[in-house]
Homo-oligomer: 438 residues x 4
Amino acid sequence: MGYFDHVGTVKFEGKSSTNPLAFKFYNPDEIILGKTMREHLRFGVAYWHSFTGNGSDPFGAGTALRGWNELSGMELAKARVEACFELLNILDVDYFCFHDRDIAPEGDTLQETNRNLDEIVALIKQHMHSSGKKLLWNTANMFTNPRFVHGAATTSNADVFAYAAAQVKKALDHGKELGAENYVFWGGREGYESLLNTDLGLELDNLARFLQLAVDYAKEIGFDAQFLIEPKPKEPSKHQYDFDAATTLQFLQKYDLAKHFKLNLEANHATLAGHTFEHELRVARINGALGSIDANQGDLLLGWDTDEFPTDLYASTLAMYEILQNEGGIGRGGVNFDAKVRRTSFEPIDVVYAHINGMDAFARGLQVAAKLIEDRAFDNVIEERYASFTKGIGADIVSGKANFHTLEAYALQNNPITNKSGRVELLRSILNQYIINV
Amino acid sequence: MGYFDHVGTVKFEGKSSTNPLAFKFYNPDEIILGKTMREHLRFGVAYWHSFTGNGSDPFGAGTALRGWNELSGMELAKARVEACFELLNILDVDYFCFHDRDIAPEGDTLQETNRNLDEIVALIKQHMHSSGKKLLWNTANMFTNPRFVHGAATTSNADVFAYAAAQVKKALDHGKELGAENYVFWGGREGYESLLNTDLGLELDNLARFLQLAVDYAKEIGFDAQFLIEPKPKEPSKHQYDFDAATTLQFLQKYDLAKHFKLNLEANHATLAGHTFEHELRVARINGALGSIDANQGDLLLGWDTDEFPTDLYASTLAMYEILQNEGGIGRGGVNFDAKVRRTSFEPIDVVYAHINGMDAFARGLQVAAKLIEDRAFDNVIEERYASFTKGIGADIVSGKANFHTLEAYALQNNPITNKSGRVELLRSILNQYIINV
Amino acid sequence: MGYFDHVGTVKFEGKSSTNPLAFKFYNPDEIILGKTMREHLRFGVAYWHSFTGNGSDPFGAGTALRGWNELSGMELAKARVEACFELLNILDVDYFCFHDRDIAPEGDTLQETNRNLDEIVALIKQHMHSSGKKLLWNTANMFTNPRFVHGAATTSNADVFAYAAAQVKKALDHGKELGAENYVFWGGREGYESLLNTDLGLELDNLARFLQLAVDYAKEIGFDAQFLIEPKPKEPSKHQYDFDAATTLQFLQKYDLAKHFKLNLEANHATLAGHTFEHELRVARINGALGSIDANQGDLLLGWDTDEFPTDLYASTLAMYEILQNEGGIGRGGVNFDAKVRRTSFEPIDVVYAHINGMDAFARGLQVAAKLIEDRAFDNVIEERYASFTKGIGADIVSGKANFHTLEAYALQNNPITNKSGRVELLRSILNQYIINV
Amino acid sequence: MGYFDHVGTVKFEGKSSTNPLAFKFYNPDEIILGKTMREHLRFGVAYWHSFTGNGSDPFGAGTALRGWNELSGMELAKARVEACFELLNILDVDYFCFHDRDIAPEGDTLQETNRNLDEIVALIKQHMHSSGKKLLWNTANMFTNPRFVHGAATTSNADVFAYAAAQVKKALDHGKELGAENYVFWGGREGYESLLNTDLGLELDNLARFLQLAVDYAKEIGFDAQFLIEPKPKEPSKHQYDFDAATTLQFLQKYDLAKHFKLNLEANHATLAGHTFEHELRVARINGALGSIDANQGDLLLGWDTDEFPTDLYASTLAMYEILQNEGGIGRGGVNFDAKVRRTSFEPIDVVYAHINGMDAFARGLQVAAKLIEDRAFDNVIEERYASFTKGIGADIVSGKANFHTLEAYALQNNPITNKSGRVELLRSILNQYIINV
């Protein structure tokens, strides 16, 4: 091995370390609120960005210098497996995630493609066995190949729907084979280019049919992974059906699929939809649908998915704040780095630096969020703000005893009304103090 | 009277007229697809922009020159009623819409406020009777008064919830009194400033409670108007709960309220949420929730609600295309001009010009959309695009006969797959031709 | 030949034609304001989108079905030349534009790359000679190859600056050889990823040095093409130095380069910078810098360069309105379709449909704009609006006679001030009428 | 006094203080890079937000509870002066800033308006004398009054231009009277609503004329304040002429005004223009035009000027990083809180909390930025990145010795080229460490 400059395992050295190859905040064994950082965070490395991505963008060829650049076909696929487990070891990360097409090349036929996949899955299984690393989730790439030009489950072509079904069937088989804890659906081409040529009703009905068939098949084979849908509003499609958390939940409720799915939420997808990451997490949380996260960040002055490594401590703190308050925390999900090094950071070591950056940001976020919760820094404020709903007319509203007559009678004799400041600026000061002081 | 320069009723003069006070496209009696333009469009004038608005913005005082500028209190309120019916006559528009606080001033107590309202409602009723004009919808303004600083139904203060209930109770009474065809809920302050101090779950539960109480009360008094919710993603709140059509439907489904509500969709709110207007209309349509529209347009290079009069023929055509394809068209809803003249268009006559602009744009949109539908210009394309789902494996998918086994078997022997171009550019050329030629 | 389905030359058939392969508005010989449409518009086909582009995007492989897909190397390059001249004939378009790397493959060395280029340039010259087609502009692609990862003229690596100089030197030689009427600089990588590692001052100084060297060399070889800079605010870079028209002019003024350069303005780049296309054209026009345009359109709800074929008649009308009012019109520039068929429009014929769409949109825009000017539809309004600056105190202001003392004296006795409405809504109605009626 | 809850002077208590009325980071006497924090930061309080603003927004009335709410006219104006100096004392801030119309009410005539102003200016002068507080800058509000509906210096009405001149003349007199260190021009209405009715060339010429007259008058009266222009891209106008730093510099260069003006840059204006704050500061810095800053922050998911108190430590650090590297630091400028408490933070004490929040954020930013500079944390990286321009071919490029011939010769023999990673992720990790550790 040695795809990443023969770097040894990155260790925790504390916040003042000047060693670029050390963790400053991520201490896997540190206990926070009764669990280790490792258990809270369940970090995952994303196969596509770190082993398949090459730094290309719409205006430029790949820049990434990688030890496998000269390889191709199955040889390349095998090298990437080596590289993946090398990086997991360097980072001391337990999980990884992949699309089927990340790990093995397509063949001329679906049969050949599946044989390629089977071979690499077997190899990955060996590595998992020997290393103890685990599969956080797998998924099927149904957006890269030109056959999915009009969508997969929402294609206008029934042949493509059938192909997509076959592909997901195989991916579910492989997920089971590798003991995946989750299975993700991200519909990069499940959307439309123009309403002028789109039968929106049929496409959404078909998407629901597809998901139900996947649920049925997983049950049939006894694959008990948590199914996750990953919302994104746009890109590559002009409009994508799983626009954001609320839209996805609306769809799942309408088609009676909500009980089978949770959400895999991504920071950059949230901001593209006009939301903060913590908003999406909160929406999922209060609907019992917070499943897993794709940790990255966007550039809010850019209008596309930049998939940067997460470094903003506000975002990581508020994300962990939602996760810690979620029943069971992140549960079977994890913190998957759906993030890529910048095209200008093209050396292998940058991949290591970038993961350290992201892991430290989330570790710090975990520390800060845990302290905020322990101290009830915001909880006390919220409890007091809504106290009026725990007694008198407020309690009647919540319990269902009040109606428009009783409420009007109350209002007519209750003059004037006094509100209290929301104190946002003070709360933000407190957040800054916690980020620095914890 | 004479608030609008003693302009007589605006007449249709045809598309080549150079009379700025004539309709070029809106011919109320022209029959389109079996109904008159008047019946299709059911235009409404918005009280707040045309009679209460004064051209102020966050950086400047009102500029509007209006005949009622020297008045105040109930005298002002009465003058505005006169002005409203004058403008309806000038424009030959049948409907108007108002918030309770548009039509009458608040008093020192809710009792006094209600008395003011009762008096103006009685005056409006007289004018409706004598003129034959009708109330498209009314609504309660629960965002301007400081008491609603933290929301109305989603306030942190139970006293405010009670006040809001009393206010909506009165508004429902008035809606019934005036024979309103719809009643609208727009929650300008139903949202949050910061998640740091917000109990999102409680606020949404309370919103559902509030809406159910309104449904119950309307039933009790026999007010059978269509209830409508108007989505908007942000502004004034940082985040508003009724973000867009899908989010609002998710909420309604979750709380079992969907059967009682449809949507009142606004163009500028759609674009602020990152959607085209036709997208929002389509989403509502396929969910049986297209209730009414607020006709205006935003400036997509500006990030706030500009509420411009709708002039873009693409937008008006595609909006009418969705409405014509909606079962029952716009139904009990209408095309309400939630639009204001620019602050720089401050003369009374600009209000007339602006409505002519908007009515002509929608009339032209109706003509174009009707012809597109009659000619099946897009329908034939769509039918052919999705033809594979009407036979063979596609029919099996739609009927529920297919499963992952049969689909995989099909896919394994079906190589290669052939897709067809979506032809977006050609369809756009056709749309241009229709807009010019119809 | 036959890369485009053996389509014959597209003819003008008039606005009611239902022939998808006919022009509805573009009639090359129609006289408008004393010149033919052909002379006004000087349409160009963009080599990169129509012959080199393949429909790939960051999430998917190329979908384009093209007759040259099986070819590679110089054989591919030659096929594309054939295809280019075939399409120019089909569309009856006089001009084309290319980057050096569009037309010939890079070799292992710059020497080999240049030999490849020379060979294809010779082939293109033959085709130009036999067909009479002309080169609107050429340019150097200094953004695709990984060597330009940190920029070309603004790189942090002097070796790359030297390479870029060598590349532009060759491109200027080829421009002269082919009689290019313009030469374009678009700096896709001339910008920064992060200020943390960027010496902004040095990079901009070097950009100025580079441009001066290019000016010097062109003069030396007697290449008298108009030099053009094409602004774009971002993408691929996080920030690009030629952000918009004003920023580019600031740079040119600062480094005393303004006399040597005009601007090549693109609609989609304008909207990415937060401007309308007509704004950018107006800014260039009043600074004597309107050189040429890249005709396309963006999707204002998407945050990246979609490079759609221009179809919006408002945009094409207002663009042509600026061009017609520019001294000398588009001059030596032209209307280059820097536009690509959607990934879902992957058949060769879509390229033809798309250009017809764009040419018709601009032809209609030209007709409408010319009529607006002939009728002084807006000019009369403007003349009257600013009339106060032609007499009295206004004339003193413009002539420089007024000062703060005389102005104060005037203001103190001039009370109240009366303004007139800007009439925007009425002007928009008039614009709609012209678009439909002309 | 006692407009702010009789709060005593806020003291520095250190980063672990839980006293909401103490500074955690701002220690005015702490020495950083040889100067006190007080000298570096030169904080200013903005009259308009803190004493004139009332918490209203386009959808709601003012919510602010203030001790002067019952007053009006000159009595109100005088109370606000008291409140201003009270707050300056509470915060131990040395500077304040105002628009003419913030401090005194307009009368029926310009004469009366000026008398009101004179009276309050005299009162302010007394307070300044007794308290030692200073005027960072004053400015003229030429956007609120309806007379400026079409602009002030860029109006279409010469009478308005004259009025604006008279207003600025008075403001310059008052600036001199109070010893203002700067004078600011922010052109809220200097822009356009629509190009359809706008003579862009004349408006910009007039703007230049106006500024030159102001320069001339200031010279005449011996007012030696630094003149500053404050860019903003839009809002309230659809387009504002001083769009961003580069656009403003282009204008100043074109009209030969650059030597008389520097820029007053605002964070929220930067982001509305699509830039980071640090970008705008850097652009100003390398052009010798960094004059002063308006410290606030926007919400990048909202499209309007939210003017939030600055709390983001990344932004405050990178702003101070630019200022520290500017020759002379902030110079005669300062850090003015052009920021308002949220409408939901309506109690007087929130104004104090909010300023503490902002002052601490900038104090921390100053500490972090100073340490980054002392340690050359980024400077070393930059020096190494651009080292190739200090020798060999790079030195020839910079010195002007190289030309296209010598560069081509060099490039032809220099194969392959090797670039180095830009290391953005690592640099971001380092920034996080500094923010936490300093």
